[in-house]
C-alpha cells in the first residue's frame, strides 16, 4: 500500500465533484505505476455502470490488453458497492485499498463483505485509509446538494 495512490484517487474524486458527480475516484496500480484511473461519471454518461472503479478497471484492461488484472491493486476513495466489489473479483485484483466506509452500499465491510466468500478469498482489503479526507469530500458534496 502506498499513500500517493490514494492521494491521486482523491484528486480524481475532486474532478467528479467539479462535474456535479458524487465524488469518488479510483486508480489501478501495477508494479508501482498507475495503469488505469477513473471517477464516478454516472450522470455525465447517463450510465449505471460508470462508477470510479469500473472506469479505472476498464482503462487498466485496455492498457494491459487483458481482462486479468492479477498482481494489481485498486485504490478507491469509497468502499466499493456490490457491482464494483464484483468487478474487482472478476478482474482478479489482489489488493483493495479504500477510504471512506459506505453504510448504504458498501460490500467490503459495511452492509456485507463479499470478500469473505470463497470466490474472493485471495484478495487483501485495507479500509479507512485517508478516511477523513475521503469522507469530507462526500459530506461537502451532499451539503452543497442540499443547499
Amino acid at each position: 500500500m502506498e499513500s500517493r495512490f490514494m492521494t491521486r484517487a482523491i484528486e480524481l474524486a475532486k474532478t467528479a465533484a467539479a462535474h456535479g458527480e458524487v465524488p469518488v475516484g479510483a486508480v489501478v496500480v501495477k508494479d508501482g505505476e498507475i495503469i488505469g484511473e477513473g471517477y464516478n461519471m454516472r450522470e455525465q454518461k447517463r450510465n449505471a455502470l460508470s462508477h470510479a472503479e469500473t472506469e479505472a478497471i476498464n482503462q487498466a484492461c485496455n492498457t494491459l490488453g487483458d481482462w486479468r488484472l492479477d498482481d494489481c491493486a485498486i485504490y478507491v476513495t469509497l468502499e466499493p458497492c456490490p457491482m464494483c466489489a464484483g468487478a474487482i473479483i472478476n478482474a482478479r485484483i489482489k489488493e483493495v485499498v479504500f477510504g471512506a466506509y459506505d453504510k448504504t452500499m458498501g460490500c467490503m465491510d459495511s452492509v456485507t463483505n463479499l470478500m469473505n466468500l470463497p470466490f474472493a478469498k485471495d484478495t487483501t482489503v485495507y479500509g479507512g485509509i485517508k478516511e477523513d479526507e475521503c469522507k469530507g469530500l462526500l459530506t461537502e458534496f451532499f451539503e452543497g446538494v442540499r443547499k
Copy 2:
C-alpha cells in the same frame, strides 16, 4: 415474465459460444420491448466488465439516455455474478429472470443472495426459468473446451 425474452437471451448465449465465449446471454425489457441486449464478450473485448448483463444494461442506458432502468426487467441465461447483481441493483431494475444456477459465482441464490439485502429489497427474482436449456449450453461448451 414472458418466456419469449428468455428465448432471445438463449439465442444470444449461442452467439457467445460461437465466438468461443462462455455462453451467457441477456436482454433488458421495458413495456414489452427489448431495449438492450448482450452476451458475454470477456475474451473478445479482453475486459473483465464485459458480461452479458453489463453489455445489455449498457445498451439499455444508451437507448433510454438514463442510468435509471426503473420499470425494466432483465432476462439472463445464468444466475448473475456479484458484479452483475450489483449492476442490476445500481440500475434499479425491478425484475430479474434467470435460467441456470451458478454454484461458483451466483449472487441471487447459490453462493449468497444480494437481493435480500436492504439496498435491493424491491427487486423480484425468478430463478431456474428454462433452466435445462440454459444449463445445457454451458455443459456442452465446457465439454468442448475439455476436448
